[in-house]
Amino acid sequence: MFLKVQLPWNVIIAAENLQPEGLMLQREIILRLLGDFAVKKATKDLGYFLAVTTLEKIGEGKVRQHTGDVLFPVVFNAITFKIFNGEILEGVVHKILKHGAFMRCGPIENVYLSNLKMPDYRYVPGENACFMNDKMSKIGKDVTIRFVVIGTKWLEAEREFQALVSLEGDYLGPITTPDI
């Protein structure tokens, strides 16, 4: 789910980048914030950091001892993407393996659908390997799938999420509507 969040952060401006004019300083703070935001990528609690939408407030700067850098508390609004257990989402298959399929969903690269969680589908080997069921419904590369999330995992080192998903439930599976 995409979320609109309001975050209080601290932005640190190096002493040599401090500008006397207010406007230039504000610009410096915003650039710094945008840079920090993009580097942060994601957190376990809030999910992936997509974009800063508006800056609400820049507080009083505090000079840090020793370095002379100035720390500004800021409050801003941003969009994040977090995946929840039990959530129903849609994704696109990008890799088929014998034991399951990998999908992309929003910024998440590894959404895994195990063949154990799509019981009526069978693996069909070949150059364009895929999974098929008796009704000729096909799960192959670039196919859109609607699934339910059964587990999520936060990888601290990569700052990334992985998800386990399932097709067990009503109205889940490949989507054929041509209008999207």
Binding site: M1, V5, P107, E109, Y171
Partner: protein, 138 residues
């Protein structure tokens, strides 16, 4: 994933801070990110360096999965769904998945039936009809 209670979006067990947080539909995110993208193209000397991978992948995703493209239609969808006492989370799941039947809507958002908000089938039916009308006239 531990915690006192297992997280389960189907029953709206997703942590208080998220229940109250404002959720966004794919089509709304698409409008915002698209606008951001254009802004960056115009104001930055080196736009590609300002765009993170997370931004890029998300933009691609929401463009593919937006059921409504026109900004007026997007606004109307939220307006209509707001009339039905849904939580932010439920509202966005419905707006994203656009179920066609009452049965499908309940399968996608089981909590609309279980939370005792007297959401009868008739009301759900009317909501789905209103949504499909927007799609038709978009």
């Amino acid at each position: 994933m531990s915690g006192e209670e297992e997280e389960n979006a189907a029953e709206l067990k997703i942590g208080d801070e998220f229940l109250k947080a404002k959720c966004l539909m794919n089509c709304e995110v698409a409008l915002i990110l698209d606008h951001k993208y254009e802004q960056l193209q115009q104001t930055s000397d080196d736009p590609t360096s300002q765009i993170s991978q997370v931004f890029e992948k998300s933009l691609q995703y929401v463009k593919r999965f937006s059921r409504y493209k026109n900004p007026d239609a997007v606004r109307q969808v939220r307006e209509i769904l707001t009339r039905y006492q849904l939580t932010e989370f439920e509202l966005c799941v419905l707006g994203n998945l656009c179920p066609e039947t009452v049965e499908e809507a309940i399968a996608m958002v089981p909590s609309i039936k279980t939370r005792g908000r007297a959401q009868d089938d008739e009301a759900i039916e009317k909501m789905l009809n209103d949504l499909s009308l927007i799609k038709k006239f978009e």
